[in-house]
Symmetry: C2
Subunit: 183 residues, 2 copies
């Protein structure tokens, strides 16, 4: 499968890839276990902070709570089979890297593995799990970002529910209509 | 401007329109004031719960905190000028409905107005602002949903930062690849 050439990217600019709302793959590791989950419920909570909904039925939740780390990986349409497969497979039963042809790569600042085939990888440390019991909400701070050098705009997938995905379409700049301080 | 024909929609199914990550317009009202803000940072926090990032520099924040209500409106590409205009205009200075040609309509369960020209309108009550000071995070419960009867998949806009929007592209069903309990 295609692997992107990547470069370091500003951790305070990761919203360029998360704010549009793509489905992401969250990788985690603790002790001798590793896992991947598919996640559609996430949001920016500041320029380098991300809120993530990680359900208590996700096996990854335990690995993430214990390690207090994860990697948020941004897949593109080419990985749709892996995105669906990961989302439909329960963690401890299989190694999802092997099952779905994904390559783990060493992260720089966290123990969880990057997924090489993804367009972007955001290494994250958990900074707040105070709303975990109430809303399954975990807040992460991105501490290192790797982003493909091309294309500029990834063809991400966005989940509509009921088995339907929207694929990222046309990109248009309206920069001239923005006040400078709003850019 | 085009107005959609709408029908009542299940409040536990609104993720079909929010999970893909569109920019939304949040309308609010308190006493004799009303306002609209453009919002790109939001997430599902349960099937009828939505987390929203509402910055303390947004004038809407005060109206929403005082009324404990808002409407989350989903615009489509036809409204791009209003989306940008609302995002680039500060609340108390102008009436954004008048300034951007948007029509306020009475909601059923909240005091904030619906925006008629939007594809969907989700009437919301605030259920949690405990993370407002820390992360500008407000949690709302949708109490009434209105969704256009056609088209099935709206051509929403998704913010990439730097004045660039991605427009929702092709929709593909992979229903056959999902386990029934994952749909």
């Amino acid at each position: 499968m295609k692997k992107y050439k990547k470069a370091d990217f500003g951790v305070d600019k990761i919203r360029r890839f998360l704010e549009p709302g793509p489905v992401v793959l969250v990788s985690s590791a603790h002790a001798d276990e590793r896992n991947i989950m598919t996640m559609g419920w996430h949001m920016m909570l500041g320029y380098d902070h991300v809120g993530c909904y990680i359900w208590d039925r996700n096996h990854s939740r335990e690995l993430i709570r214990k390690s207090r780390e994860c990697v948020i990986n941004v897949p593109t349409f080419e990985l749709i089979d892996a995105v669906i497969g990961v989302g439909n497979t329960h963690g401890p039963d299989v190694d999802k890297f092997e099952a779905f042809g994904l390559t783990p790569a060493e992260a720089k600042k966290v123990g969880a593995p990057l997924i090489e085939e993804c367009y972007a990888n955001f290494e994250c440390r958990m900074v707040d799990d105070s709303q975990a019991d109430t809303y399954s909400l975990f807040v992460f701070q991105c501490v290192k970002a790797h982003v493909a050098t091309s294309p500029k705009y990834p063809r991400t997938v966005h989940y509509r529910g009921d088995g339907v995905f929207m694929i990222a379409g046309e990109n248009k700049s309206y920069r001239r209509k923005f006040k400078p301080e709003m850019l």
